[in-house]
Symmetry: C2
Subunit: 374 residues, 2 copies
């Protein structure tokens, strides 16, 4: 689908007991997200800016759930990505039982730039054109920069593809940001000589926007290979801002603090829309999401749908690597590879740390398994 016309659509699902209640609710959403005034008080020449319900249908698979396709004038967004989010889900986020189930791919593709690197760009950096990729995290909080660098050495020695900081490593006195980057980057570069392959390091970039950009600048200047950021903690626009300011640095987005938008069956965003469309559109090259069967609650169908949207050609932008995470057992990797396919970046943390033979062996086994796809 390509961008056309002066309007864009948002798909909403909501609860209603009858056709007429559904019509009222759909109109209510259209008004709430645009004029935010009783329609009778909107001056006639401005009625054109009120959202319009174009399709309304009962969902067969779910009792009393309805789906509406609502169109809004592009002028009320005027190219402003933050205002776009407000039109999509600003006030209606406060109404129980309303879920955003679809965004206009054509409009997203004109409004957002998407990933700078995407699946192909990350693969190129790792000289890994076909197989799934591996990722792990430096932990636990409280470790010194030297301890984290030692862990990084062990993982990189086993040839892991990407090492990211734990998203809880900020700028604590225990392992401040600068010393962490300055310890981990050379440790990983040294270990690459041993492993004979590339390992990318993505330090966790967090803080207020000013801190965020300072740390990103420091990381870029000191040899880090990309950024880990938690968009819902640092502001969703921080992804697109960092992508624009540091186009050479791939971005991996972490779901910390984002749960409320995606874990409720009937409100927030459909997970595939939030992770696979919105985060991809914002510029996340790698999209971490809570995998089925781990410590969190997604069903495998939802995960497959996230994967599909991350890789979909519906959006006219580079594809994002889906990154299932959150309790993947290293011994279940074959199952997840079979389920999700090659264009997947597997993030395994705790299960590697538990390997009885240590982190280097754990990483090497991880890589060996993934290499079966080559």
């Amino acid at each position: 689908m390509t961008d056309s016309g002066d309007s864009f659509f948002v798909d909403y699902c909501f609860s209603a007991g009858s056709q007429s209640e559904a019509e009222d609710k759909a109109s209510g959403i259209a008004v709430e997200q645009s004029a935010e005034l009783p329609v009778e008080t909107v001056p006639r020449h401005l009625l054109d800016y009120v959202g319009t319900v174009e399709e309304l249908q009962e969902q067969e698979e779910a009792g009393n759930r309805w789906k509406a396709k609502i169109f809004f004038k592009k002028e009320i967004v005027s190219g402003d990505t933050v205002q776009f989010l407000n039109v999509v889900f600003g006030n209606v986020s406060i109404k129980p039982g309303v879920q955003v189930t679809g965004l206009d791919p054509g409009f997203l593709s004109t409004l957002f730039s998407g990933p700078n690197h995407g699946i192909d760009g990350i693969r190129e950096r790792l000289s890994a054109p076909k197989r799934p990729l591996s990722c792990t995290a430096l932990k636990p909080i409280g470790s010194s920069s030297e301890e984290l660098a030692r862990i990084a050495t062990e993982f990189a020695g086993g040839g892991i593809d990407i090492i990211k900081d734990d998203h809880g490593l900020a700028n604590q006195s225990l392992a401040d940001f600068k010393s962490r980057v300055q310890s981990c980057v050379p440790a990983i570069r040294d270990a690459e000589n041993l492993s004979g392959k590339k390992t990318l390091y993505f330090p966790n970039i967090t803080g207020t926007f000013r801190e965020l950009t300072e740390r990103a600048e420091f990381a870029a200047q000191h040899g880090a290979d990309g950024f880990l950021i938690s968009p819902q903690l640092t502001g969703l626009y921080s992804v697109s801002e960092l992508a624009a300011m540091f186009p050479d640095m791939p971005i991996m987005a972490h779901p910390a603090f984002s749960g409320p938008y995606t874990i409720h069956k009937h409100s927030g965003f459909a997970p595939s829309v939030y992770f696979g469309m919105l985060w991809r559109a914002l510029g996340a090259d790698c999209v971490i999401y809570p995998n089925a069967g781990g410590r969190f609650s997604y069903h495998v169908d939802e995960c497959n749908e996230i994967n599909r949207m991350c890789r979909s050609n519906d959006l006219q932008m580079k594809r994002s690597f889906p990154v299932p995470a959150g309790g993947i057992d290293r011994n279940s990797l074959q199952k997840w590879m079979d389920e999700y396919g090659a264009d997947t970046l597997f993030l395994i943390g705790g299960s590697l740390y538990k390997h009885p033979k240590g982190l280097t062996v754990a990483a090497r086994e991880f890589q060996t398994k993934l290499s079966e796809y080559e």
Copy 2:
């Protein structure tokens, strides 16, 4: 309560069918929000940084709900407000049925500065030491700057206390930010001469952080009296950042895009904690929340609890004005004044626009009603 010791607490409520399941879940939260590793893999000298469950009790009023008080070392936050949010609710936000029901007021008071003005400061600007205050919004989207200024003139002519932009007015070509501020500020100043009283104007400051600070700077330089911002769209830290950068400008915070954190009975944050503690701590002088009985879903008890926390002396910082909004009928004002008391800022939009005698009369009646408290 004052800040003391090397730890702070967070209260969580969650579901569990038995004491032992509750113990497991509470420990799970404590680990997830700190080490994020299986405890057996945490080096012994770092176990001190793993959160600890200090109190665990079943909630009598709710079936199978338990409350845990979990303590975390202050070092894992190290004075970083974004990392604080991550420790409080980062990964655990993705777990169904977990709600943050309390934050450590002593720690909040050391970590955050709170409002620069608060209830007393806003009252002073309006020379209104006792009565409840009034607020309305400039709407609808699509209006030109001149049309919005005309509406502002009418409201200010009726003596309303605060006029804010609709939170959907960003920087659209229809009424771009600069022309809007430059039209509305002088319109309101002129109308003050007619009404004989002060009316404050809070334009909506939105966009990426860079746009946000540029617009805030412009607004401050061109006579605006404060800012409206939507923290969940612009990043929660945008409140504290703007408060620090523009200490003379009061901040009114709008709940757009925040619903998922507060509308679920058993997940996210208790509304009073989110609005009354967190937003206040971040520096919101005025906290807009969706009032009971309007277009949204809160119960009046929850609203009273938000009001209580906004005004509580438990936090060692200025008090925030609670701002009930979202469908208050002008004819129900007496009821809400009786319910919420004088330290309340009432935001009424649509119901004023519907007044058959126009906006100036609507505003004047609003003020007359509030003046009964003097």
